[in-house]
């Protein structure tokens, strides 16, 4: 019921209207009934008291002079006359009895019921009073009979006030009918009113799904002058505003898409250019270097006997320079390849990869004695090519910087930290000063001079890019002359 009511504003309004009208009408009707009953009862009371008093006055003479027949005659007439007026009367005279001062019946309208010269067998109300005989619909009144200023007896009248009860009941029935009719009327009126109040809400509801279309129109509301008119116009205004905003957003989006397309095309062109550039670098830039290196070597090998040591030293420096530039070109190309290569994810066995790299390092540098421990079975999901470059650079660095260490040691392992697998490569080589750790991964940033350790300063920048491409993190710890440790996480 509660739910049924809460679901509909129409139902709530209807219920309130109907309840209010039924309550007010029945309240009014009840008040009316109570008043009416009271007023009529008072009127009847006065009437029957007057009637009794009047009868007592009439009986006084006959009682005084003991004209009992006359008295009887009169009493009967009064009763009969009252009986003739019975139609429409609210009470009936049942009987009239005259008593002398000692309480004996001396006159009666109905001698059968109250025989003469017998004691009155009923109750007698106080003089000039009235008493109700419970449950009988009867009322008795009594009045003193006065003659010459002296009380000579009493007159007792019994009335039947059942007609008054019938009258009241009839009246009540009329009220009930009236109440039912009024209730039905207010119900109809209430429903109509509720409908009239709530119907505009229906049109609001039907138009809401159209909001933003720019076509939501509620003429049934917006043309009104009242609050519903305000609501209707506000909704139409909101609709237009939403529509305009959406149009603008659409325009912006289209513009953005166009912009993205343009930028993508520009980027693709730039990428192509970069590739062409890389290709040119790898082929063309290298050719003169080869010539410089190759002919310097040819000079040393073919004409060595004609050159003194200084000349040979210079040629060695020429070759060194050419080779260094060759390495720089190689490293830069690798860096750019790492940046633009497409990633192919697969399970990569980093342990096996590291073993292979260390094997190659040992082959290139057979005189070095380095103790390398690689934890077995370190597997990760990533691009094998790029991860190869990563390990090549980190392990290559470890190899390079442990050159001067007594009992060089390199370790590749992993550990679990905060739910992540952290790989680490630790060495006991030259290490670095933690003050410069921020420069470690920048391109062309070096923490050692060329004389100390040769290098291009691109290796760790490349490593950083490989990590970035995999959405991972890399960081390092180090101490001068004690070693370095590189940690990395791959996603």
């Amino acid at each position: 019921m509660r739910k049924w009511l809460l679901q509909s504003f129409f139902r709530q309004v209807s219920l309130i209207l109907v309840a209010f009208s039924v309550l007010s009408i029945s309240g009014y009707a009840y008040q009316n009934y109570v008043d009416l009953k009271h007023q009529w009862r008072s009127a009847i009371n006065i009437q029957i008291l007057h009637l009794t008093g009047f009868a007592a006055l009439m009986a006084a003479n006959d009682l005084r002079y003991e004209k009992y027949f006359d008295l009887w005659e009169k009493l009967r007439k009064v009763q009969n006359q009252a009986a003739e007026e019975e139609k429409g009367a609210l009470f009936l005279i049942k009987d009239i009895v005259v008593l002398d001062n000692s309480g004996n019946v001396v006159g009666s309208s109905d001698p059968v019921r109250h025989p003469l010269l017998r004691r009155y067998d009923g109750q007698i109300p106080q003089s000039s009073g009235e008493m109700q005989i419970a449950g009988s619909g009867r009322v008795k009144t009594a009045a003193p009979i006065i003659f010459g200023g002296e009380r000579i007896g009493s007159l007792v009248m019994a009335f039947d006030i059942a007609p008054f009860g019938r009258f009241l009941r009839q009246h009540l029935r009329d009220f009930a009918v009236y109440l039912i009719l009024m209730t039905l009327a207010t119900l109809l009126f209430g429903l109509a009113l509720a409908r009239w109040i709530t119907r505009p809400l229906g049109s609001v509801r039907s138009v809401l799904p159209m909001l933003g279309s720019g076509q939501a129109a509620i003429p049934s509301l917006s043309l009104r002058q009242d609050e519903y008119g305000l609501l209707g116009r506000a909704i139409e205004f909101a609709d237009r505003r939403i529509h305009e905003s959406e149009e603008q957003i659409r325009m912006h989006r289209d513009h953005l898409e166009e912009l993205v397309k343009q930028r993508t095309r520009a980027l693709e062109a730039a990428n192509k250019e970069l590739e062409a550039f890389s290709y040119a670098v790898s082929h063309d830039l290298r050719a003169p270097l080869r010539a410089i290196d190759g002919f310097s070597l040819a000079l040393v090998e073919d004409y060595g006997d004609k050159l003194d040591d200084a000349a040979k030293g210079y040629l060695q420096r020429v070759r060194g320079g050419a080779q260094k530039m060759g390495r720089l070109i190689d490293d830069m190309l690798q860096l750019s390849r790492v940046t633009r290569a497409e990633l192919h994810y697969a399970a990569v066995d980093l342990s096996a990869m590291a073993e292979q790299i260390v094997h190659d390092l040992r082959a290139q540098d057979p005189h070095r004695e380095v103790q390398v421990s690689i934890a077995p079975g370190l597997t990760v999901s990533g691009d094998a090519g790029l991860l190869g470059i990563l390990l090549q650079n980190i392990l290559g660095n470890a190899w390079k910087f442990t050159r001067d260490a007594r009992e060089a040691h390199i370790e590749f392992d992993s550990r679990l930290q905060d739910g992540e697998q952290v790989f680490l490569v630790r060495d006991n080589g030259a290490g670095f000063d933690m003050r410069y750790v921020s420069k470690l991964f920048g391109a062309f940033q070096r923490l050692h001079t060329e004389d100390e350790f040769p290098g291009t300063g691109i290796g760790l920048a490349t490593v950083q890019r490989v990590i970035n491409r995999h959405g991972g993190r890399i960081w390092a710890e180090g101490k001068v002359e004690e070693g370095a440790c590189f940690y990395f996480v791959l996603k």
Partner: protein
């Protein structure tokens, strides 16, 4: 040593000189025919153009092929060689100036037998020759005396 010819396809004169020197220095006494671009290489192999009348039955034992060449590039030369029955089986060692993955992959796709980085790293070249079954190159390595 008739017929034991090495064809060197290289446009860069410096690289040509250095390559020939490297081969000679390691006592490879084969005739080294040099051509300067892709078109010339094709003419040589098929006896056309300036090589019209060359006996194409006498084909080189191995071709050292640079990839970046004027007119017709190395990959196309390789493609044409592999498409022709006369040159289909000649071993081709591609000379690359870098380790550009794409070049190496394309070369192998088109039927290159091996590759060496320029200028000829002689040891790598010998490895390649060994794999190709060119024992004569190693025989020649031993000085006559």
């Amino acid at each position: 040593m008739a017929g034991k010819v090495i064809l060197l396809v290289e446009d860069n004169p410096d690289d040509r000189i250095l390559t020939v020197r490297a081969l000679k220095q390691h006592n490879i006494a084969n005739v080294i025919d040099e051509v300067k671009d892709g078109q010339e290489a094709l003419d040589y192999l098929f006896g056309e153009g300036q090589y019209a009348g060359r006996d194409v039955a006498m084909q080189p034992q191995v071709v050292l092929l640079d990839l970046k060449l004027p007119k017709v590039d190395g990959l196309e030369v390789l493609q044409r060689m592999r498409a022709d029955s006369r040159t289909k089986r000649i071993p081709v060692v591609v000379l690359t100036s870098s380790s550009e993955q794409q070049d190496i992959v394309s070369s192998f796709d088109l039927g290159a037998n091996s590759y060496v980085r320029k200028p000829v790293d002689f040891n790598a070249f010998l490895d390649a020759a060994k794999q190709l079954g060119l024992y004569w190159l190693m025989l020649n390595e031993v000085p006559n005396g």
